[in-house]
Symmetry: C2
Amino acid sequence: MVRLKTMTRARIISSLDEMQQVAEEVRLSGRRIGVVPTMGFLHAGHQSLIRVARDRTDLAITTVFVNPAQFAPGEDYEKYPRDFERDRILAEEAGTDVVFHPEAQQMYPHDYQTFVEVATMTKVLEGKSRPTHFRGVTTVVTKLLHLTKPHVAVFGQKDAQQAVAVKQMVRDLNLDVEIIVAPIVRERDGLALSSRNIYLLPHERNDAPVLYESLQLAERMIEAGERNSKNLISAMSSLIEWKKSTAIDYISIADAERLEELDTLRPGNKVLVSLAVMVGKTRLIDNSIYTV
Amino acid sequence: MVRLKTMTRARIISSLDEMQQVAEEVRLSGRRIGVVPTMGFLHAGHQSLIRVARDRTDLAITTVFVNPAQFAPGEDYEKYPRDFERDRILAEEAGTDVVFHPEAQQMYPHDYQTFVEVATMTKVLEGKSRPTHFRGVTTVVTKLLHLTKPHVAVFGQKDAQQAVAVKQMVRDLNLDVEIIVAPIVRERDGLALSSRNIYLLPHERNDAPVLYESLQLAERMIEAGERNSKNLISAMSSLIEWKKSTAIDYISIADAERLEELDTLRPGNKVLVSLAVMVGKTRLIDNSIYTV
């Protein structure tokens, strides 16, 4: 088995056909493929996912594609940060073998009209604020899985609901791929890494760690015996609202697999505490999973 | 390359995991897979599709699955004809190597919630009469393609809109499979073969060839220079209404690839003339494609 890990430069592929042919050849040669779908503007969080793919498979593919289908009109599709040369270097540094960088017009030609939708669990949390977002995510992930033919695909826990929706979609559609969800990578002060953090003004950046602090507060309260979701959410809210640049979109305490909101925590519950907060004009998300 | 074509008995697989493993092993051995998705109750039309798969690939898989997701409440899901032993024999006779016969509960477990939808072209024709039908079709075809991992999938021209929707879906989602659409097989009197023909009472069976006769009439009129869709549809209607057991659901003259209705035929147009007619209590469909 030839390992491609010794390549210093990653192979850059933008053609859909070429990507699919390379993937098919690699599979036929008996090697395993791992893919990390990203929207680019990579940071250490993405790099941790690429390392998982690299360590688990023979060929690590990083996809860099800002997916128009997961942005609603008025969201930040146009101004979403893009810097391919930087992405290429960071992906290589983390050990990717291939960077797949397709064009939007190839991915969504003018007569494009097929969508993959996970019905129930994409209507809550992020889906409530962004009603067509997850349809765009599951559609592009299906396309990227067909194009890169991986044995393993790695997603970040940062986008908790996305990870749950993708797992459900893969299970429902019988895709033959293992989904790995890798932990959130944080700054020293606790702020979860995100490509959108670059939007933050200095005083907003100072306020932003409050998302993680509120999750830690919830964890301490659960450990101390608090079982009422309202009390947890109210304490988190108070902490966050103390920071002037913040405006809470939602705080949710839900079943970690089915994403159904929980009023009361019960022993054995695997609980996803998640939140979305505007910090200035930037919408940040964060989450933690606890087993009660 | 080992040909499995000499097997007299097909391998019967009902487990989803087993099907996917077999498919992966066959692919890894360098052999090509062809699949024919059916709802069972096979006839010579299905057999012609199986022969195409057998002739084009090394392993022909026939799937036999009455897909609940493509029936609306009140349609004939419960009473849709089923006879697996008969299907097995007919599929073997046509040269299938594998019959994949999954259970509905395995295909759609209780928390199932993912659907693949082709947006525009499934809203017309059959989609107008059966609004959730094609969502069920494209969803189950996606699942079956993931489970059987074919190089080639064969569909019948009889379900013209289904074939167009599946081709669009495969193109949009970048599925690495070639879709072949094989011609309609007819009885001597022109009636298109259909599993639903067994519902017809004797006098209805006598009336049923009028669907094909109306298509032939349209063809003769187009050849004679008729370019107005209204005139074509009106002539077809008159011919069909002459038969007492019939009630027309729709007659459509549309672009054969985009399924947009055409008022006027123009030179070079590839035209799908399609119709759905109740014959007694049985809904029959038929179609022809002409290049003007």
